[in-house]
Amino acid sequence: MPHRFSPFKGRPARALAASAAALLAATVAAACGSRAGDESAAAAESCLDTSGDTVAVGALNSLSGTMAISETTVRDAIYLAVDEINADGGVLDKQIEIVAEDGASEPTVFAEKAEKLIREDCVAAVFGGWTSASRKAMLPVFEDNDSLLYYPVQYEGLEASENIFYTGATTNQQIIPALDYLAETGVESLYLVGSDYVFPRTANAIINAYAEANGIEILGEDYVPLGSTEFSTIVQQVDAADADAVFNTLNGDSNVAFFREYSNVGLTADQMPVMSVSIAEEEVGGIGVENIEGQLAAWNYYQTVESDANSAFVEAFKAEYGADRVTSDPMEAAYNSVHLWAATVEAAESFAVEDVQAAAGGVSFEGPEGTVVIDGENNHVSKTARIGEIADDGLLYTVWESEGPIEPDPFLEGYDWAADLTVTE
């Protein structure tokens, strides 16, 4: 009779449970991310080779893990822009070749892969990153190696690196216009709900400062762990607080659970509108239109924006990836970032990092959202702010837009009430 493992003898069971718990804890800890890339190595000489007919660039997006849901769409947009530029003759008569890497939703992996792209693949620039944790992990890598990252997602601001071009919105191009819009429509009290990491915490610090200066009452501020799907208590509290509006900085799958709970307890956009900053066309499908119709979102771009550049962008994207696909703000910002890089290289007549940095200020591109111009001071771009309403076809339609592009102000120097906000690390 073979001896079989049996867990019911006290010690083995406990040891097992403990090891299972240890593995789970390790997974959780890894998922929370840590700051990586503490490179003390001397800045390496770039190994970029521009003697051939091609030039390599990196596409660094999460193709696996929890962020893959969003970042794969950004990768698609990067490929589309590169194909367009190549079909048009390339950059400085060289065809662009993409070296793709998977950031795996882990900040440490992003840092490692960035290092690999720069040192081994000798890329001229890297496009990608999504979470602020991934950007902050990559920042020292790009600074130490003196290389370039184009980061395409709206973020919490309070950062400006010479080695990063930020083509998504900073706070004064998204959150502050959203607050202005709410204040304009008569909102006097807000309830804040967000995922528990750097972006929502910083965003809510800004919202609190804004609210204090503008006489808006904050009735509650709640955070859930990233990926959490349990919203029973929070929605009850939101319901009880009876604010004029909810400001939602949740990220990823949590939005699905939140909006399902919200509509199931009978809350509607008419009673208490939810202003979201992380819900784009792609996310609406997963949440279910019936649960989110009429709610608001703040972005710089929607698929429905009316412009010739956008018609061409949407048409080209659907032709490449299928008619059922939608385009969203981060995709558009990523698409713009590749074109902005190409335009800067053309202007600089060089792929060298210092030449690109020197030539970047004032470079513009006629993007789907409108004209975007690189600000040479802080490496952000000017963007048009738009508030969109989610319609029953799952798309967002602009209900308000800023008069022309807003100049980027990542440190909110132009706002007196923001004087006390500090740079978060």
Partner: protein, 294 residues
């Protein structure tokens, strides 16, 4: 008085969700001692079963009813295959099982991503389950009432099967004393396969039900796995009763903490309570006395 009813109901509701996710695990981990890290992915398979059924059937209400048994079959079949190909060969090596099934979980996630795409898909909630019911001043979503009812049905069904069917008796016999059961003519290999089928099938059912409140994406299962293990460990290995009490207790604890702090702090609080509890009572809430020899 919704200050009391709110958290109380939320506790029950969260508890029933935890219970649904953990019930299958309490069979495979609790009864068999197999640490199946792919359990979450069986839940995920259930959510996609609900999605596919809805795509084929159309009507959300009918498809939900069809998807429940279908989810059981899909989860169970995946469990059988995993048991036959992998876990069976690793019964003496629990740590290898843990790592191997963790890998299988990652593979299943990637498979789901390749088939259905990375973005979450939408499973429409049936008309009949939309909106809420007013209970003592608190609006209770009907979807949560449905999940509570389903959890009760699942627990009763599992209990009845274990207690009153020949197959259930064989499972209990093998859990109680494997060698003695074998000498009595019970094929423990077939019992293992059967137990794993039921446990994995329950994960599939949980997946179908969880589409009502959560998202359907390749990583859905991950959000339930840690909590499911906590429920089984805190409840005591091998006891369905333990899983029930632990799930409701953890749910209530989470709800109460959350009412007076934030959700992420509440999570920390729950973990602290569990760690302290397991220090004082490592065997969990309920223990199974067996006559098997060490």
């Amino acid at each position: 008085m919704d200050v009391i009813v709110g958290p109380l109901f939320t506790g029950l509701s969260t508890g029933s969700i935890l219970l649904l996710a953990a019930l299958g695990l309490s069979l495979t981990f609790g009864q068999m001692g197999v640490i199946n890290m792919a359990h979450g992915e069986f839940i995920m398979a259930g959510t996609y079963t609900a999605y596919l059924t809805q795509q084929l059937v159309g009507d959300a209400g009918v498809s939900l009813l069809i998807a429940l048994p279908f989810g059981f079959a899909v989860g169970g079949a995946m469990g059988l295959i995993l048991e036959a190909l992998l876990i069976r060969h690793l019964y003496h090596r629990p740590l290898d099982t843990l790592l191997a099934t963790f890998g299988v979980g990652l593979i299943l996630q990637q498979v789901a991503r390749d088939i259905f795409g990375a973005p979450a898909v939408n499973v429409t909630v049936p008309e009949a389950l939309r909106g809420g019911v007013d209970i003592l001043g608190t609006t209770v979503p009907k979807t949560r009432l449905f999940i509570m009812a389903l959890a009760v049905v699942a627990v009763v069904a599992v209990t009845l099967v274990l207690r009153f069917t020949p197959a259930g008796r064989r499972i209990r016999a093998v859990v109680g004393n494997r060698d003695l059961a074998e000498t009595a003519g019970i094929s423990s290999r077939r019992v293992d396969a059967g137990t794993f089928f039921i446990g994995s099938g329950l994960a599939g059912v949980a997946g179908v039900a969880l589409t009502l409140i959560g998202s359907t994406s390749p990583t859905t299962g991950q959000s339930y796995l840690v909590d499911a293990f906590l429920v089984v460990v805190a409840g005591g290995l091998g006891r369905i009763k333990g899983a029930v009490v632990a799930a409701v207790a953890l749910g209530a604890l989470q709800a109460v903490f959350e009412t007076y702090s934030t959700a992420s702090l509440a999570k920390v609080g729950v973990f602290v309570v569990i760690v302290v509890f397991l220090q004082l009572r490592p065997q969990g809430l309920f223990t199974l006395r067996t006559r098997s020899l060490a």
